[in-house]
Symmetry: C2
Subunit: 379 residues, 2 copies
């Protein structure tokens, strides 16, 4: 019997416990033995939970128990989670996580510790929630040179934009509705300012291009500057406005950024609505392929965490090598130098789409005018 | 250095050689050593090919060479390919393939031989061309109980239906155009009669439900009965007609079939056009997730074959277990007993959508009428 510990009993943590329980039979068949939760670590009390007997407030119970093979870190943030992850790896346990902030900030270091200890650090759930992404990239598409990866990586902002597009809601009204439904936090900055999408595109860039892209290298523009006027003008021009994270390889350098884009209505990403996520990968052999599904939520995220638990247990003898641990930082291509068409709305003129140009060229061309909005266009 | 052989130098085989060559550096990095093609087996001569020095007509060159670790079988069919695959596996070589006919017919036996010999038999390319599907199902979604998998599995028929829907082409004209473009064979039966999609849904059902579904168990209805009248009537009702392969778990039994369906325009599958494929998986934790991309073609299919070559080489010590080798046949749920809404076009009446019912109930309700067309509706 394999024994697991869950760190953090919030939304995702309780989902992980639920999935391990409800699908126990299938999971045992796949792993080759039963998988039992031995500890759930949380500072809070959950006296009414069916998992109450497994609760502990002391992480060292997990750290010092040689029976524990795998630890699911679903605390979030990069403080306690960082400390516990390092200690678990150093104690010879594989760690799986949905914690994009931690992976984006300290992934390289944690992967190096995992390698030293001959255990796994897996983070399928950190990008795209339940959508399979990291394994398809590192395995199925391993024969490709990845040219670009881009997509809708944040469900909250996609919900807000969809509400604006479909129901004519203002940004403020759509945000309030997202908060009412629990899709957005009381302090929504991490979502609406593009920070969450920025962490995710960092992780995808690391995986696709094999070198570390730090969050602080990646310019992020959120959706607070998108107005109903722009949504309507985009509609008339044949586009939908979506917040995209993009990472590409240009001249041997990595370019990554987050910004609102006009996406042609014929593009599959224009059809990714509400809280769903969609990610497009372009490889030099496969062409374009897209992954679509729930990018957040209790059970979808738990699905990915449990997939990683299973994989870690099946690779106890021989650790999985995910191909991003070279320890090198990426040479960075400044996204403002990327040439794309732009959507431009200028005072007194009808909104229009420009020829491909850089940000500086656009600014120069518009120097004499009062610019009300300018967003890149996906071509 | 790892040495590989390619069996068959047709479209896919030459694509595999091309991808292994053009992405050699990346592939070597991922595998941990260079991957060299040592033989290409084909009965034909290719004197002008850059790969001419590697050509042999004699499979036993491969079979008897202990240096060969992995063999890509891209011959197609279930005669010579069957013989060569068995011999290669028995000679202790991993085999990877794009051959859906062989996997659907003899997959169970070939997986058993591979297991006995402690080598791999991998077939990511057999379903969905370059789209990552089998690994996401067996790994990322391993924590789920899969409830249903369904999708557009054949690019040729999707091209024809798209041409009918978008351009008002007749079935015959669209088929001729598909043949002219090389998407359809001179004898198009395997595509338009749903046989190809039937093989693929068998493989997906095997993988998702862990028991063997034989092609001859799976009723297949192709697209020859779809007329422009139906395409237009569907449009008015808010649907697009798509050929779907579907497999689901019902009462502990497996139900699988191929048939034209009316797909609601809001469904992502309605947006999968032309030769593209799209596959939706519904799991009890993840909900619905979709995989989209080129379902055929030289380089996309080669991308998947090369992904498997890399995986086979990385798992030489410890073979990959793909979770479909139990040797059991599935209990089969007769698809005609599945209750769904139906699209019905009856002489003298406007086309309409029924309440959910079985095929027999539908026939009974329509007994007095002249039925011009009836297709299931995806709900």
């Amino acid at each position: 019997m394999a024994k697991a510990a869950i760190l953090g009993f919030g939304t995702v943590g309780s989902g992980v416990a639920e999935v391990l329980t409800m699908n126990a039979e299938n999971i045992a068949k796949t792993v080759g033995e039963e998988v039992q939760i031995k500890y759930i670590v949380d500072v809070r009390d959950f006296p009414d939970s069916p998992f109450a007997p497994l609760m502990t407030k002391d992480f060292s119970d997990v750290e010092n128990d040689p029976e524990i093979d795998v630890v699911a870190e679903v605390i979030g943030g990069a403080t306690v989670a960082y400390d516990f992850t390092k200690r678990a790896l150093k104690a010879g346990k594989s760690v799986v996580t949905s914690n994009k902030e931690l992976v984006a900030k300290h992934g390289r270091e944690l992967l190096a510790i995992a390698k030293d200890m001959n255990v796994n650090y897996l983070f399928e759930a950190s990008v795209g929630g339940g959508i399979p992404l990291i394994r398809p990239l590192t395995q199925c598409l391993a024969g490709n040179k990845i040219e670009e990866i881009y997509g809708i990586l944040n469900g909250t902002t996609n919900y807000i934009l969809t509400d604006m597009i479909e129901n004519g809601a203002s940004f403020e009204a759509a945000l309030r509705e997202a908060q009412r439904l629990g899709y957005a936090e009381a302090n929504p900055s991490a979502d609406i300012d593009g920070i969450d999408a920025g962490r995710k595109i960092c992780i995808l860039a690391d995986i696709c291009f094999g070198k570390e892209v730090r969050s602080d290298m990646v310019p992020t523009e959120g959706i607070t500057g998108v107005t109903l006027e722009d949504v309507e003008a985009a509609e008339k021009l044949g586009y939908k406005i979506k917040l995209l994270g993009r990472a590409m390889s240009l001249d041997g350098k990595t370019c990554a950024f987050v910004a609102p884009h006009l996406v042609p209505k014929g593009n599959m990403l224009a059809r990714v609505d509400g809280v769903m996520n969609g990610v497009v990968v372009r490889g030099n052999a496969v062409g374009e392929t897209m992954f679509y599904g729930p990018g957040a939520g209790k059970l979808p995220t738990a699905s990915a965490v449990v997939g990683d638990i299973i994989d870690a247990l099946r690779h106890r003898q021989k650790r999985r090598d995910i191909g991003w641990e070279a320890g090198e930082s990426a040479d960075f291509f400044d996204p403002s130098l990327l040439k794309t068409p732009w959507y431009v709305r200028v005072e007194g003129e009808t909104a229009s789409i420009t020829q491909p140009c850089t940000r500086a060229e656009l600014n120069e061309a518009l120097a004499e005018k009062t610019v009300l909005a300018s967003f890149r266009v996906l071509d």
